[in-house]
């Protein structure tokens, strides 16, 4: 199934990610590959992305399942350039674009819809002006509500909202209010992230100490999020992701199919600066320099990249790490060698992991509800890591959006 390293990689990716790095402003907590302003470069960048697509096309399998356009703020990209990219991408059942509320206009919404976009991921983060201020977000609560309505008007029926919790100064009551405000907009999907002070960010410099001090007080925030959203009929299908459950107003599977593919260990191709691909036994990262990316593609060459070989054992470990984030049982076939049996027994005895038998008698494991709150520690303990890391490589890489 997985192609070997060396030689030409076989067509195996049914998931495509495109990184549009431009932003109006860089938020303090952000560690993604972003480029502020430079509107005059948007068109050239769009051409470069399409050129990279043309080079990498052989890696894509037809038909594609998902396309995800992330950033940056894709909707900040000059509209002509954005639409050129969207029109140049292959068709897929799910096409998601990330948007910031203040960039959503009726015209843009319509154009996106026309360009085949099926799903919008909206960076709301919070509905409290003082917390949005801490995050240096430009949109206010009214912008978020207006953006959702605008998207609905353009007949988008799959909208995801991003929320952040653990913001310095955030009280439990603030979080309750944010959740209630988000639910009032009836999004199909919610991503709720704990704010991380990523090393090297301006935010970490300004707020790192505060985040450490409040860590214990905010330890229960994820529980609160899960409880409120579950009560409202959302399925906690991944550690940080919730979708409207079937029977609770949804007839479709509203999980983010793009990310679901990644959590299930499928191959994916990433285009654009900072874009990451995992194809068979190789992970590649396009380096973050916009200039070098564009000039290479203008000259018809591959953009500068960093390659990371992934042996079978490493991929199996990642499969466990990612699969255990989901609420569905993880089949152990092909992964048995990487699971520490003693640890599994210990964790099961503590009610954190459950062994399951799938139809057809295949063995699987799943975290219990309590286990899912401790998934990091459990995974660290359960997995037999191939080599204990030469840690410290903190490569800033594009995220695959939410």
């Amino acid at each position: 199934m997985t192609p070997r390293a060396g030689g030409r990689l076989a067509a195996s990716a049914r998931h495509l990610y495109v990184h549009l790095p431009f932003c109006a402003h860089r938020c303090g907590y952000c560690d993604f590959v972003t480029v502020v302003g430079r509107r005059e470069e948007h068109v050239g960048y769009a051409a470069a992305v399409l050129a990279e697509l043309a080079l990498e096309r052989p890696l894509l399998q037809d038909p594609l399942e998902t396309v995800f356009v992330g950033g940056g703020t894709p909707t900040f990209t000059e509209q002509g350039a954005l639409l050129r990219v969207l029109e140049g991408l292959p068709d897929a059942a799910e096409v998601t674009v990330e948007a910031n509320p203040e960039t959503v206009t009726p015209e843009l919404a319509l154009r996106l819809r026309q360009a085949g976009v099926t799903r919008i991921s909206l960076g709301a983060q919070s509905f409290q002006p003082h917390l949005l201020g801490v995050l240096e977000r430009r949109a206010g609560p009214a912008d978020v509500r207006r953006a959702v309505h605008t998207l609905r008007d353009a007949s988008f029926d799959n909208i995801s909202l991003d929320l952040l919790y653990g913001i310095p100064g955030q009280e439990p009551a603030d979080l309750e209010r944010d959740l209630a405000e988000a639910l009032a907009l009836a999004p199909e999907h919610l991503s709720c992230y704990e704010l991380e002070a990523k090393p090297g960010t301006r935010f970490s410099y300004a707020w790192g100490g505060e985040l450490e001090r409040q860590a214990e007080a905010m330890e229960g925030y994820l529980e609160l999020v899960v409880e409120r959203l579950s009560d409202a009929g959302y399925r906690w299908y991944e550690t940080a992701n919730f979708c409207l459950a079937k029977g609770c107003g949804a007839e479709r599977d509203l999980r983010a199919q793009h990310n679901l593919g990644i959590w299930r260990g499928h191959d994916y191709l990433g285009l654009g600066v900072g874009g990451v691909s995992t194809i068979g036994a190789v992970r590649r990262r396009n380096l973050p320099s916009l200039e070098r990316y564009r000039s290479a593609l203008v000259a018809g060459r591959e953009p500068p990249r960093e390659l990371e070989p992934l042996d079978d054992a490493t991929r199996a470990c990642e499969r466990l790490m990612l699969g255990l984030r989901l609420d569905e049982p993880l089949p152990l076939e092909g992964l048995e060698d990487r699971v520490d049996g003693d640890a599994l027994e210990r964790l099961a005895a503590r009610g954190l992991v459950e062994a399951r038998t799938l139809p057809g008698g295949k063995r699987a494991i799943a975290l219990t509800t309590r286990g899912r709150f401790l998934g990091g520690g459990i995974t660290a303990e359960l997995v037999i890591w191939p080599r204990l890391a030469e840690c410290g490589v903190e490569q800033a890489a594009a995220s695959f959006g939410g």
């Binding site: 998931h15 990610y17 992230y193 704990e194 704010l195 991380e196 330890e219 229960g220 994820l222 529980e223 550690t239 940080a240 990310n259 990644i262 959590w263 994916y268 990433g270 900072g274 874009g275 990451v276 995992t278 992970r283 990371e308 490493t314 470990c317 990642e318 790490m321 990612l322 984030r325 210990r346 964790l347 503590r350 954190l352 899912r372 709150f373 401790l374 998934g375 990091g376 520690g377 459990i378 995974t379 660290a380 303990e381 997995v383 890591w385 204990l388 890391a389 840690c391 410290g392 490589v393 903190e394 490569q395 890489a397 594009a398 995220s399 695959f400 959006g401 939410g402």
Partner: protein
């Protein structure tokens, strides 16, 4: 060499009063060492010794001064090594007693002076560091004269650093210290006062020839052990090995024995020739018994064989080190080691880590206990986890402690000693400002943090020394620590009944801080037998999961989890609970002032 031209002496001093600097200056002045080869504190050849400014192993060096051969036998300056001092002194006729002109007499000055007096040595008192601005040479000379019963005028004033007065001191050594007075023609006898091991030449004995003559190549016999060997080479240190055809009565030197097994030649034994008819051996040394014990465990259990080999090698040069295999449920395979004292323990540990590149976990130290069980059986217990639960009586070692402090700290020292079950013995004024306090204390109360407490409560002014004063019965009890319901053998300790509740409580509180929260609640209990006397709980984590994980950061997240797992590997598993190594030292970090 004619005995009348030989002087054998030691330099004795409190730590940092300048003994090694003086030795260096003497070597320089007598041209035993060229300027070029001069390296500060040449006698302290181990890296660790130079770094810590202490001398661990005695060595002997011969220098020439105005037609005389002076043998300088170096001595360790720390309380733990009193026994090595005493064996060096037995090879001498005199001692240079060095006191820092700014510090005055300190506890080890006294201990060393008494040792020298016991050994009937001629003491040459010296006030050192007279070049320091805060020096009080006259006051210090008066203290010394009072201590030794002489006139302040007999006290020499020098600066080992600048060399001032050192030539006069050498003259005084020749003039005041008696020449050796052995029988040059009697059956040969030599005292082994130290030994070292050379990989190529085997055991090298440092000896003081007392009677007769030892010639190179002659068959020798160690009288106590009966070991026979050939004197492959004889010589003296100057300061490197300098071979001579013979060592004669009164001389100090070395013998290359060729013995490959260190246990066949004991320090304190008497050497004679195989054919001689020497009657009695020279008075030897008491066997030193280690009084402080601790478990040494490799952090990585795969290093156990390396640790065993390293201890074997250290033992070659350190007769006082004792070790036996120990198995701990919590810490795995290691060794229970016996030491002369805390500094000795610290030095052994550092040598193992530095010279043998081992990562070690050293448990909190404890003393040796003499235990009588219900059947009247006597045993010695070196490990609290091995203390029988039912005992008739327990005896613990006591010490006589001397503490010298400025008078304003007398109250603080008395309070500390009382807290540690000390019994006041006596107090005397050494000068108007400084007081000697003498207490009897259980050694078990000293081994944890007494010295640190003493220093911190007297702002570093107190000096401290002790002598063992035998075993006494004590109201002692074994306190066990349970983590997650499982007893942790490496955390058991023996406490006085009156202190057991308080200390048990402090210990579980401390462990609560040291043991990180895990995925489940962890009860931590202190218990006497089956009775729980203190309890704390490390609450379970409520969340331990990476917030966000998408295609672009899989590698980073994987590395974070690998790192998390690596952190776990460094911890010890106790019944499924991960216990960091530091927790095993928790007992050392209890806040003494709260007791």
């Amino acid at each position: 060499m004619d005995q009348s031209r030989i002087r054998n002496f030691s330099i004795i001093a409190h730590i940092d009063h300048g003994k090694s600097t003086l030795a260096d200056r003497i070597l320089q002045l007598t041209e035993a060492v060229s300027e070029r080869d001069m390296r500060d504190q040449l006698l302290d050849s181990m890296e660790l010794e130079r770094e810590r400014g202490i001398t661990i192993k005695a060595q002997a060096v011969r220098v020439s001064w105005k037609g005389h051969a002076l043998n300088l036998i170096d001595t360790p300056g720390h309380v733990d090594f009193t026994y090595e001092v005493s064996r060096s002194l037995q090879a001498c006729e005199g001692a240079v007693l060095v006191v820092d002109a700014a510090q005055g007499i300190e506890a080890q000055t006294l201990a060393n002076a008494y040792l020298a007096i016991e050994n009937s040595l001629e003491i040459v008192p010296v006030v050192n560091k007279i070049d320091l601005p805060q020096a009080d040479p006259d006051g210090t000379a008066r203290e010394l004269a009072e201590l030794l019963g002489g006139s302040p005028d007999d006290v020499l004033r020098i600066s080992a650093k600048t060399g001032e007065g050192v030539a006069t001191l050498l003259d005084a050594i020749v003039a005041r210290i008696p020449a050796p007075s052995g029988e040059p023609t009697a059956a040969p006898r030599a005292l082994v006062f130290d030994s070292s091991y050379d990989q190529y030449r085997g055991v090298i004995a440092f000896v003081r020839a007392v009677d007769g003559r030892f010639a190179s190549g002659v068959a020798l016999r160690a009288m106590a052990l009966g070991t026979s060997f050939e004197a492959e080479e004889l010589g003296f240190m100057s300061p490197t090995r300098t071979p001579v055809p013979a060592l004669e009565a009164g001389e100090v030197g070395y013998v290359v024995t060729g013995l490959k097994d260190v246990s066949r030649l004991r320090v304190g034994d008497t050497l004679t020739t195989a054919r001689s008819s020497a009657g009695a051996p020279l008075p030897g040394y008491k066997d030193v018994k280690p009084m402080v014990f601790a478990g040494l465990f490799p952090t990585d259990s795969d290093d156990y064989p390396e640790l065993r080999d390293a201890l074997e090698k250290l033992k070659l040069n350190d007769a006082a080190l004792f070790y036996e295999p120990e198995t701990s449920q919590a810490l795995g395979f290691g060794f229970r080691c016996g030491f002369l004292g805390l500094l000795h323990m610290e030095i052994v540990r550092e040598r193992l880590e530095r010279e043998f590149d081992l990562d070690l976990l050293v448990t909190a130290p404890n003393v040796a206990y003499r235990v009588e069980d219900r059947n009247g059986q006597q045993i010695e217990v070196h490990n609290p986890a091995e203390m029988p639960r039912e005992v008739e009586k327990i005896e613990e070692p006591y010490i006589t402690a001397s503490v010298i402090v400025p008078k304003e700290y007398v109250g603080d020292v008395m309070q500390l000693c009382t807290e540690r079950r000390g019994r006041f013995d006596h107090m005397e004024y050494l000068s108007e400002e400084r007081v000697l306090l003498s207490y009897e204390l259980p050694l078990g109360e000293i081994v944890l943090d007494f010295y640190d407490q003493l220093k911190s409560r007297t702002r570093g002014y107190a000096s401290f020394d002790y002598d063992l004063a035998g075993f006494r019965e004590g109201q002692l009890t074994r306190v066990d620590i349970l983590v997650g319901g499982d007893q942790v053998d490496a955390l058991s300790l023996i406490l006085h009944r009156d202190a057991a509740y308080d200390r048990g409580k402090q210990l579980v509180e401390r462990l609560k801080v040291e043991i990180p929260r895990q995925m489940f609640d962890i009860p931590i209990q202190a218990a006497i037998g089956s009775r729980v006397i203190a309890r704390e709980t490390v609450k379970a984590k409520r969340k331990d999961v990476l917030a966000k994980c998408y295609g672009g950061d899989v590698t980073r997240k994987r590395k974070l989890l690998e790192k998390q797992k690596q952190g776990k590997k460094r911890m010890k598993q106790v019944g499924g609970v991960e216990v960091p190594q530091e927790a095993f030292l928790a007992v050392l970090n209890l806040d003494g002032s709260k007791r």
